[in-house]
Symmetry: C2
Subunit: 645 residues, 2 copies
Amino acid sequence: MEKFSVVFYPDDITVSVDKDATVLSACVSAGIAINAACGGDGVCGRCKIRVKKGKVYAHASGNLTFEEREQGIFLACLTEIQSNVEIEIPPESRLSLERVSRKDLQISVDDIYTKSEDIDSGPVVSPAQAYRHVPLATKIYLELPQPNLDDRISDLERIYRAIRAHNDLRIVQTGLANIRRLGELLRSADWRITVTLGNRNGTTEIVLIEPGDTAARNYGICFDIGTTTLSAQLVDLNAQKILGTKATYNKQINFGSDVITRIIHAHSQEGLAQLHAAVTDELNRLVLELIQGHAVDLNDVTCVVCAGNTTMIHLLLQVDPTYIRRDPYVPTANFVPVIRAHEAGLKINPRGLLSCIPGVASYVGGDITAGVLSCGLDKQEDVCLLIDIGTNGEVVLGNKDFLISAAASAGPAFEGSGMQAGMRAAKGAIQKVRIDPKTFAVTCDVIGGGLACGICGSGYIDILAQLLKLGIADKSGKLQAKECGRVRKGDLGWEFVIMDQQASGRSGGIVITEADIENIKRAKAAIYAACSSLLKHMGFDFSSIKKFFIAGGFGTYLDVPNAISLGLLPDMELKRFIFVGNSSLAGARSVLLSGQAALAAEDIARKITYLELSVQSDYMDEYMAALFFPHTDIAKFPSVAYTHR
Amino acid sequence: MEKFSVVFYPDDITVSVDKDATVLSACVSAGIAINAACGGDGVCGRCKIRVKKGKVYAHASGNLTFEEREQGIFLACLTEIQSNVEIEIPPESRLSLERVSRKDLQISVDDIYTKSEDIDSGPVVSPAQAYRHVPLATKIYLELPQPNLDDRISDLERIYRAIRAHNDLRIVQTGLANIRRLGELLRSADWRITVTLGNRNGTTEIVLIEPGDTAARNYGICFDIGTTTLSAQLVDLNAQKILGTKATYNKQINFGSDVITRIIHAHSQEGLAQLHAAVTDELNRLVLELIQGHAVDLNDVTCVVCAGNTTMIHLLLQVDPTYIRRDPYVPTANFVPVIRAHEAGLKINPRGLLSCIPGVASYVGGDITAGVLSCGLDKQEDVCLLIDIGTNGEVVLGNKDFLISAAASAGPAFEGSGMQAGMRAAKGAIQKVRIDPKTFAVTCDVIGGGLACGICGSGYIDILAQLLKLGIADKSGKLQAKECGRVRKGDLGWEFVIMDQQASGRSGGIVITEADIENIKRAKAAIYAACSSLLKHMGFDFSSIKKFFIAGGFGTYLDVPNAISLGLLPDMELKRFIFVGNSSLAGARSVLLSGQAALAAEDIARKITYLELSVQSDYMDEYMAALFFPHTDIAKFPSVAYTHR
């Protein structure tokens, strides 16, 4: 097979590919995360690249204008390499990370109970979260009595006996690898050893036996494996302290931005292995960055806890997720036994453990279980709601007596996906706008300053809230005020121009189209209807809700009054809304630190009922009623007032 | 490195070796089991070979006569190859298997309780041995309800639920490999599957998930891993039937005939790996022969139970046995957790389990635990003794209330090792003689007929008993009757000629020397003294013993009156002696078939106290007193009468 070199700019990374390989697959080889929301089907039109030099064959695409083609701009997924080429990846096609920031990851639900504090340096487990501190892996330093003629139990039983003096555990497993080294190790260590005990599904295993006293060095990693974002925290398991947090995009995005596209890709030849490698490579990189940044030895990382949606956990474990999306939508495993992390390709201590937070159903995963655990929904006296608006939207209603969940088919609109000028909350994204009520002049707040490349989810909410308030958009989402000079008819229908081509870093300028507004309307209606259907199903309404927990990266940046004015959130007192940040990561951390929390997570996963909205007749009514801004029943939103034109 | 070819006759096997390699190492490469009792140190003089052609460098050895060297006879361990060579291995240097026969292996202790029967076709577990039938691995056929919108638990939990309908087991582990295949497997199998449940240290694991109904095909293997002999039985785990039994020599003999030599070898570079491979290769060969002979698929062999002495189990698991022979003689593990057989290099189903019967101490291993289990010593009302005379000699005294054990340093004399004309009980071994009381003419009973090559253990007992009875040897073991024409002075002192060079297949003829008699005397004294010391320690004497169980291959061929006349066995009513054959194998089989038996074995191993004879002052007295035939205190052997000369 003929081979060509591909140089990517501005990264200046060169890879070698076969003739006819797509630019998208070359990006994957080069480790460049590119926006391929549709998974490389040529549908989303988001993976635009510019061919600077060399020959390519570009399949036709309605997503490209004639001018773009003239400039050498093509879709990475539809462009096949025919010679050595040089390719530039524009910022808007790229997944960058500037705004997956500390704040995003670290406003933890622990802080609901305690004062907010910089948890980088504070204790992880707040007093109110009363799970006993017994990490997934515990180290015990033992000074064993030397054997003599009166005390000749075997080396292994000598260790068991000493452990039992600390804790009456029934040890059911010790790996052969440990036993093989044991005789020599004990004697060269002069009978002073550190034993790492792992909690494996309620039984105790000797995970490691090390010479000397290493008990002070026991670290764990918790991961939140999101469809879009991967977050990792390095935790000192003894001190119960977070040492550091890192996040990155989930490189599986190269194979599609949503779980369905990835499930389809997993079914292809090599697809499952590619998706598995894409996520584990990134997780391993996060681990390395974390330990290097905190002078921690990889061998002292003894355990990992992962929270993620059901598809993400299947892909992490390289388990075929096909049946998640086939009627009747059954995952292969919700409760995954504790295994060795290396079995899933995670590189910590080779014998270290991996626990995955149990999921509830195909579309309500362990990230939601972790969220419930983390915000203590399962312990509330009052009825509360938890919503997690990520790439998917999940809702849990309940208290100490019941828990019921639903998945809202919100689509990725709030992540900027599938929108004309949408992008993730990264450098160059417009996150806030001010529209002058008289002149309609628009001023933008761009992440990282500099040239705007697109609009992120919270930017859309902000823009739309103002369009509605000013009457530029009406309740159904149609653009009015066509006289204002900023509403124009584009290729895809009416659009409001935020920034024209000259002012922006985006060809064609930055606009919000009626189709975009429709997308947002459907997304917000899906989430609102999921909440109201759950409430109705249980005989409640929004007035019953004492606490409305909002989780997820998007949630953290959500402006509640704006969200209410759109009808995304119900019209309640603002103080009832509680941002819980990355509650999935916080829940995973609890499980890392406490076997009791792990049992609580299992209880939660078992206790949560899953309501399939698509078969609920009420749901469609609720959804249809919510397909207005803020709602067809305006009485539900007394505080919202729009300008009428 | 220069390479030479070595052709072995009469095997006609050719191997290629480096220059300066020893003939012994070439034998190992060729898979030829040769008698290297001392482990290749040039000490035992048993590995004689003849160089037919080619150049060798033979180190000097006192074990070779001038004539032998003239004939090209050298010690394999001291002979280095210097060219392409052809080498003949004489029968007496070779380990062959003719007499490790069905009878040896299959007279089972089960028959103590039931009528003796051909256990090849009969039930394994006799009714009196009331351990409930729950094999180490159990197969259950499940017809799972298909998931639907009202029943959407995950695939794995669906299986758990169905298993719990059979049996309320808490399943704590399911291998990731099983989970990875699960979604596809369940659907292609139309939800009809067979689950193999394994008992792993008191918890339940899903070992295998197979499509369709394979429940009828569930087989296990039990092994007795002796220092000299490996025995294996293929068991139908459902029907509780032995399908077949095979035995072979333990090829570790190439590295030394006794455990001490092997422990030393294990400490050398590659030594542990070589010893591990030597035993596992043979065990795997036995498994293949067994399954091929009974049309069983290897994947249907789901578990293995091994009984063996502590060193053998360490070597099987490739665990360094060094500390077994170093003061204070502590093994690395007596209780080995259940692991996957493949981890120890045993080739059954790749996920199949391996359980090792727990041992008591460095020199009282799991074979003895299995023996106690098998003969039900731990359930006896009366005080009983169990002796196992193999390469080592172990003794257990006890009943339902107590169990105490000791290891007798008997040495390998009863296995024909370290004796002038000694050989294992193989083809060409003299096993019985008749000495005419008047003419002293000797007639021999040779195993397999044909030319005699040496004397096996039971042959020595028989010869010595007659020499004593006829007064040719006196009570101290000195040869008398020097006038008889058969007692002569050889290179190594006085010897009795059984067969001269012409009549025998052995250069120098076949003799029993005073040194041989001394060896036997020490061996029998060690065993007798071990029994009497244990009894004395517990306040008993031989008259307290209601049943005297004799286990082991050698035991099976032991002539009790002869053994009494030597003072090896106490002078008791013959009916109290019970031959239990390979009780180690029988015990392993019980554990294979019953989790209850496995627990009983653990209880036994924990309950058995180990008495270190070498630090017992009484033991040396008992031993010294037994250093006569039959004993210094002739009142202990009223039935024994010798001719006095």
